[in-house]
């Protein structure tokens, strides 16, 4: 049953999150440095007060207990660096931007990647196939910050077609989304191509053709549904890729998303923010996997989600 499956998955998710929270907490405390570090040393008396205020002078396990206790109350605390800014508000503000970019990048990657893969598969061993492979290899090998910088330079600075930073107008989305989706598009194109090549030579396709169905119907209604499975599997790692890729892209395009907050929080030793963001990212990734797993069941009825009693 689907419900049972989802509940089971969610329980595993919570367990993983707990382990992750604990591991991050202890690793974070193990790194040298503290949130009050700076070129100019603070007088020891003040530093002591600061440590006491945040409870850093207490034994590690006490701090850990406090932290887990707060987590269970869904209290992520306040940023240690940006005063009076709650971790929740940082996530809300930043995620708005990162989500828009991320979703657009995913849509673009899937749509264009699949289309490119289809073109390649349909023109196997002809020019378009080789050309698509070439683009795919480029996409996978060039780091996205190189692509981002090149796009900004060419289309932003030289041609002045787009603004170089910010997300204020619709056109501002074009360059960052291209930069973010370059690699996933390439990857999906290759996946689609090889998967479709396999599917297109299968028996049931020959049957469909001999039935007289048109090329388009065969392709999109029958072949694609089977060939899309590897792409669905890739959604999990792709989400991860886009999330991590967004760090650099957000930096280059001056977008106030979560990627930048994440990197800064580590440099600043902003403990509360580090924990909050790490857990948030973990939830996103786990949800992506969950959605992927559920999608499997809908796309390919041969896959049974729950082990055990048979049944179609």
């Amino acid at each position: 049953m689907l419900i049972r499956y989802v509940i089971e998955k969610i329980l595993y998710m919570l367990l993983s999150l707990f382990v992750l929270a604990s591991a991050t907490f202890f690793l974070m405390k193990a790194i040298p440095g503290n949130p009050f570090q700076g070129e100019k040393n603070i007088p020891p008396a003040i530093k002591q007060k600061l440590l006491e205020k945040y409870g850093f002078d207490q034994p590690l396990f006490v701090q850990y207990g406090n932290y887990i206790g707060n987590l269970l109350k869904l209290d992520f605390g306040t940023s240690m660096k940006q005063q009076y800014v709650t971790v929740e508000s940082v996530i809300k503000n930043g995620f708005a931007y990162s989500l828009q970019l991320g979703v657009l990048a995913i849509i673009v990657s899937v749509v264009i990647g699949v289309l490119l893969g289809l073109i390649a598969a349909l023109n196997h061993r002809k020019f378009l196939d080789g050309f698509t492979i070439f683009i795919a290899v480029l996409g996978v090998s060039i780091p996205n910050f190189v692509i981002a910088s090149a796009l900004v330079y060419l289309f932003g600075v030289q041609l002045r077609w787009f603004n170089v930073t910010g997300l204020n107008e619709p056109s501002d989305y074009v360059l960052p989304v291209i930069a973010l989706s370059f690699l996933p598009t390439a990857f999906i194109a290759r996946l689609t191509r090889s998967s479709m090549l396999e599917v297109l030579s299968a028996d049931f396709i020959k049957t469909a053709r001999s039935k007289g169905l048109s090329g388009g119907v065969i392709l999109f209604k029958h072949a694609l549904r089977n060939g899309i499975m590897p792409v669905v599997t890739y959604v999990g790692p792709m989400t991860a890729n886009i999330i991590t890729g967004s760090v650099i892209v957000e930096q280059i395009f001056g977008i106030g998303g979560l990627g930048k907050d994440f990197v800064d929080s580590i440099t600043n030793r902003d403990y509360t923010l580090i924990m909050g963001l790490t857990l948030f990212y973990a939830v996103i990734l786990m949800l992506a996997r969950l959605i992927t797993d559920i999608a499997y069941g809908f796309i390919d009825p041969r896959i049974k989600l729950i082990r055990g009693k048979g049944g179609a």
Binding site: G33, Y153, F155, E169, G254, G256
Partner: protein, 544 residues
């Protein structure tokens, strides 16, 4: 095939649509109305004058608040909220008269009570959200240190508002640069209503400020907008209609923004420009590209407690073997000035700049002499060759280039092996403070316009010494400087102290730093001061 064709057509249409919606990019070049646009590398962590510790926060605070005094373009102290003041005979008691037309942004009058409240607040050991990290800048005031460290009561702090317009302050020792300090953030007044709202500085609409500008918009991680405050007593001196900041962390992006007309100012201190493009930018932009020396020193610390650096001759050899001219002209490329002392130019001495009155000709680079000193030093330590050692710095392009260049100079000139290693900022600071290093990079900027801001670094009780150098004679000289109110005498004592310290070669001065920025030529009245802070309050656009 038909299907392929239709797919290809779909893709081409998509591409056309994208480029179509693209050319709608707003294309402003130069001044947009009367708005001054800059960039901040990061979000200001705090805009509470008592809590701010970084230059980005200070940039904003200096525009929306104002202290008793302010510093003009020449580094001289000018009256601000205090219209006049006098100092007692012994140099320890200051009596300030607050202007009668000074107002907060909500119309309330600014009184001496606001200053008393703000300074005592900055010293409050129980301040929320955290005790001020810069409270030690107030320790010149009698009773301040005791209160701040929990050893004394707030009533014993010698700050008194005698009436609404008279503020009396008594210092521990005559402090010549006190007037200069009054223009810094920790000494700014704070509206007493902050008692009721501890998060007053976290949003634009809860801040009541007294400076030439007020904040009208703050979108975290995206933008900050300032507009002139109509309550400011010198409102007609403020010409900009708006000052706005974007928050972009990447130096190349910042340069792109400047080049496409989105910024009127780019670079330090609020943002940054790509260091490897300095030479070409200078050539291409000429006057628009500025290099301004700042009162800040870049140097290497030597751990004088770790063998063989316990030997003065060995340390001296290292210093003499560095070619600072090559370093600044070929490596750092920012117009920095080679340093042979520890007090940078721009800092006031008795009548002129300290560095003009006291030449930093304490030593000269000399490779031959360095070789000899090294040999002698090693012999004294019973070594036949110099062991290899670590040269550490915090991860940063420029630091890396400098370290590699210097390690190279040492290798060629002295035949010694320095292992260049970068450490993450937090790790680096920890190691340096714990004296877990051999030679480490350091930098120091002026807190106020007096040489003691640098010379005081190396006393035995200074928390920023980090070298292991300790000398009773040095401490005594610094103590005498603190007690004296005679400008000439102070300079003489400080020169003696500097000479003593430099002769021990406990640090290797490298260069006096510079601020590199670009600014549209139509912008006037905006400058970077001796400290490296940007001052734009009286800026304006020249109509061309």
């Amino acid at each position: 095939m038909k299907t392929t064709r239709s797919i290809v057509v779909m893709l081409l249409v998509l591409a056309l649509v994208l480029t179509g919606c693209g050319s709608g990019a707003s294309n402003e070049s130069g001044a947009s109305g009367n708005e001054f646009r800059l960039n901040l590398s990061t979000e200001p962590p705090s805009l509470d004058p008592a809590q701010a510790t970084d230059q980005i926060s200070f940039t904003i605070i200096n525009a929306i608040y104002e202290g008793l005094t302010r510093i003009d373009e020449n580094g001289d102290v000018q009256p601000a909220v205090a219209e006049k003041w006098n100092v007692s005979e012994d140099g320890k008691t200051y009596t300030f008269t607050i202007r009668s037309d000074a107002k907060w942004s909500n119309g309330d009058a600014i009184t001496a009570h606001d200053f008393e409240y703000a300074w005592k607040r900055a010293l409050d050991p129980e301040l929320v959200p955290e005790p001020s990290q810069y409270s030690y800048q107030l320790y010149y005031i009698e009773g301040a240190e005791a209160y701040n460290t929990g050893e004394g009561s707030v009533d014993a702090v010698a700050i008194k508002a005698q009436d609404d317009h008279t503020l009396v302050v008594t210092l521990v020792t005559p402090t010549i640069f006190f007037e200069s300090l009054l223009s810094t953030s920790i000494y700014f007044p704070v509206h007493q209503s902050v008692k009721e709202n501890e998060a007053f500085a976290a949003a634009a609409d809860t801040m009541i400020t007294n400076g030439p500008f007020k904040m009208t918009e703050w979108k975290r991680n995206t933008s900050i907008v300032l507009e002139p405050s109509d309550q400011y007593y010198a409102r007609d001196e403020i010409k900009f209609a708006k000052v706005s900041f974007t928050v972009v962390n990447d130096s190349s992006s910042e340069l792109n923004m400047y080049q496409t007309g989105k910024l009127d100012f780019a670079g330090m201190p609020t943002g940054s420009l790509p260091t490897d493009q300095f030479a070409s930018l200078k050539e291409k932009y000429g006057e628009e590209f500025h290099i301004k020396g700042t009162a800040s020193l870049s140097y290497y610390l030597i751990n004088t407690t770790a063998a063989p650096f316990t030997n003065t001759k060995i340390r001296q050899a290292l210093s003499l073997a560095v070619n600072r001219k090559d370093l600044t002209e070929k490596v750092t490329l920012g117009g920095q000035i080679p340093a042979y002392g520890i007090v940078p130019p721009g800092i006031k001495g008795a009548n002129d700049e300290y560095r003009n009155e006291v030449k930093d000709d304490y030593f000269q680079e000399d490779v031959e002499q360095a070789k000899q000193l090294l040999a002698e030093g090693l012999a004294e330590e019973g070594l036949t060759e110099m062991p290899s050692f670590r040269l550490t710095f915090n991860t940063n392009d420029l630091n890396q280039k400098v370290a590699e260049a210097i390690a190279d100079m040492w290798s060629n000139n002295l035949g010694i092996n320095a292992q260049v290693g970068n450490e993450e900022w937090g790790v680096f600071l920890d190691n340096r403070t714990a004296m877990n290093y051999e030679v480490a990079r350091a930098g120091w900027g002026a807190d106020y316009n007096d040489p003691i801001s640098f010379i005081g670094l190396f006393t035995s009780k200074s928390g920023n010494n980090n070298t292991g150098f300790a000398s009773a004679e040095y401490d005594e000289l610094v103590n005498k400087v603190d007690q004296s109110s005679d400008l000439a005498e102070r300079v003489k004592l400080m020169a003696e102290a500097e000479k003593l310290f430099v002769a021990t070669h406990s640090v290797i001065p490298l260069y006096y730093a510079s601020n590199i920025y670009m600014m549209k030529p139509e912008v006037k009245g905006v400058y970077v001061d001796y400290k490296g802070d940007i001052v734009f309050t009286r800026g304006y656009y020249e109509q061309q």
